[in-house]
Amino acid sequence: MAKRKKPRTEVFLNIPYDKKFERLFIAYVAGVSAFGLVPRATLEIPDSSRRLDKILKLIGDCEYSIHDLSRVELDRKKPCTPRFNMPFELGLTVAQQKHKKKESWYVFESNSYRMEKSLSDLNGTDAKIHEGKVAGVFAELCQTFKRRGRQPTVQQMAGIYREVRRNQATILKESGAKSPYKARAFRDICVVASAWADRLVE
């Protein structure tokens, strides 16, 4: 009888979708793919009245979730508003996982001790500080996940990141998108990152 394959693991990425975050967004996709995990994001969900239900389903489908609160700040566009999407989705995840009695969510931040001020309800939870750097994201992902056998190094993650960045223009051109924060561009970037992870991580 053929050995049954273990299911793949999906990771929910709760990240800001803005131009300044683009490098870190690719870094997250590259880093998560390097661990043989499948990145998922709300980018895949089309805008509709049932969006919240779909977000809840997506969070429920993912084994792990990564929440980046580094850009919870006032928007430049008027009226100036803080960005609530990331903390809101973090709240949804925490509530869902408490219900299922498991805790596999991780908070990433760029500044130490800022989360204690901005989200004091999570005191006692250690945020992973990446300092707004690509290498910082890789280092923190290495601290978060461990894999027996194919354990990626930071250099391998950086290799995947470089290849994705190299192909980014082609992917965006072919998908007709101006930024990677579009459903099709996101899917394509994830597949390319996964292909390189399969090739580079031994």
């Binding site: 793949r8 693991t9 793919s33 043989g36 499948v38 996940f145 192909n167 994830c190 996964s194």
Partner: protein, 86 residues
């Protein structure tokens, strides 16, 4: 605290299946993600183009292009050929 992953390492096929990427698009992405292809460059002598042909001392029929002296190669002759040449 680290999480030890015991799930199967997701390949590009797994990721494409999870994200709902079509087969034809997947094949195209595999080509995009292929190893670097460096275009073969045909080496030739460096040439510079001047604005007009009426430059003093230029050869007729060069169409405004001059081969740089540094790029011109000296014909190498060796051995018997060299002796014969002399």
């Amino acid at each position: 605290m680290s999480v030890i992953l015991d799930s199967r390492f997701a390949t590009a096929e797994d990721t494409a299946a999870a994200l709902g990427v079509s087969d034809s698009r997947f094949k195209r992405l595999m080509r995009v993600a292929g190893p670097k292809t460096i275009a073969r460059r045909v080496a030739g002598p460096k040439t510079i183009t001047v604005d007009f042909c009426a430059r003093a001392g230029h050869k007729a029929g060069t169409n405004g292009k001059f081969k740089l002296k540094s790029a011109s190669r000296k014909k190498q002759t060796r051995g018997k050929t060299k002796k014969a040449a002399h």
